[in-house]
Symmetry: C3
Subunit: 206 residues, 3 copies
């Protein structure tokens, strides 16, 4: 079941990357590269931080095939995909939940302390999207928009707490992923945003 | 001979990075840093992904010296270099071919599966230029322009196939590098571009 | 004492990242993430290049706590912080000196050759700020402004020379850090800039 969820997450992330690349008028190859990078980027960063090389995502061909196929589909059918706005956002939330919590679990297995594992898990969840935005010359969405990384962090912390309490891992990861998805979906639905600093921003000083 | 080709590639990549930095009005130091990053970046990414630390490119002083000297020359003689447009593009194609195929071979020797090695080799070839464009706040050229990464990938796949067929490595790498260079030069000459998605791009949805 | 200096550096870097994020109108969470990334980014890059995983900065909770608390303070009190312009720049120079020289020392202990250690030390000093600027879609300041990376490099080279001469490490690092800070402060005070290339920059050729 975790694998099925991971595949949903890969599809969602590859699709969001490919759609953003189509909007930036990239060519076929650029769309596939950005799709792959968005889908696999979080896992690559996680494995590099944990010293698991070469990264699992680059060693698992179904991950590559599913991500590339999704990007190709988006390239040819992007108007239809863009119309599925809600489905894409929901799938993206699913992917965020699965990647963040599974990333935390991977880091714990690799021997990282709990708070380190939470940070690495959060990075796994949000990393792909951040790389996508950097490649397309945007300030990463995760830094600007509705509750996103906090939703990921909440799931990661639950996995960490479950690990400390020695609860069964499968159960904990599932509950944590559901929590992340729920927070993210509620934030989208209710348009929750984190506060912005008050006052005129100071002029640049550096 | 491989070393001679690698040096040509380093010079070409360092030169392209330095020239772009001069155009962005960076100062002397910025020009050298961008030149070094462009020349060495692909190899650094390759070694980090393979867990070969510290990265070979940072441990090989001739690489550093050649790249830095190239960037300095470009800083002082950039009008003459810019006039050598064709020579620079040809050298860049050579560098792409050498780095991508040698990167694939390095990854295979480090024990990566064939498709992983191809991806890492392609990343080695295109990574330096992508970092250059990110530093200078451009959407990476490799995502936007004539057949570039596909040329690299073609060479990487040839190296992978040669590895599976147990052909002699030196021969395979040479043939693969020639293939990459040929595709890239033809793409430049004939202005081959990958297709762009049809239809109005959907408005941003995220 | 090194730890006290490192804390000052973390506070300065976290503060500069958070302030830049407030100016870019990021929300509370974005401000904390950019602050953390700026403070910890150089050390993370250093450890990934040296194969020390998971990175020390992610495994040392006081680093995380101090950096996050600084970013939060800046979020709420940014007008006051922006008024402390000189103090912030001085603290940033301190951080640069400490991180660059301690980074060189870490790389030497990990067995890197001297020139490799110098490059990795310089990257440790300037890496966090470069990541901050990339996230906020700026050409990294270090590539554009007064003597900055050269100041870091000077300290790194001193650490490397001291290592070759087998001088006592604590003494060498202190002298090297002071050198870096002095060069940086002088450059700010005297507005030293590295030269820019002469002549009209050539039009883009790629």
């Amino acid at each position: 079941m975790l694998i099925a969820l991971e595949m949903i997450g890969l599809v969602a992330f590859a699709g969001s990357g490919a759609l953003a690349a189509v909007q930036a008028r990239l060519d076929l190859f650029g769309v596939v590269v950005v799709g792959l990078t968005t889908a696999l980027g979080g896992g690559i960063i996680r494995d590099v931080l944990l010293g698991l090389t070469p990264p699992t995502t680059l060693r698992t061909w179904p991950y590559l095939a599913v991500s590339a196929a999704t990007a190709l589909l988006v390239f040819f059918f992007h108007p239809q995909v863009a119309r599925l706005r809600r489905a894409v956002l929901l799938a993206d939330a699913l992917g965020l939940g699965v990647f963040a919590t599974a990333g935390t679990s991977t880091a714990l297995h690799a021997g990282a302390p709990v708070y380190t594992a939470c940070l690495i898990g959060m990075t796994t969840g949000i990393g792909g999207g951040a790389v996508r935005d950097l490649l397309l010359r945007e300030i990463p969405l995760v830094l600007r928009k509705e509750i996103y990384a906090v939703a990921a962090l909440a799931g990661c912390v639950l996995v960490g707490v479950g690990h400390l309490l020695r609860l069964p891992a499968g159960l904990v990861i599932t509950a944590a992923a559901v929590t992340t998805v729920a927070i993210r979906v509620l934030a989208l639905w209710r348009r929750w945003n984190a506060p912005v600093a008050k006052g005129t921003p100071p002029s640049s000083f550096s």
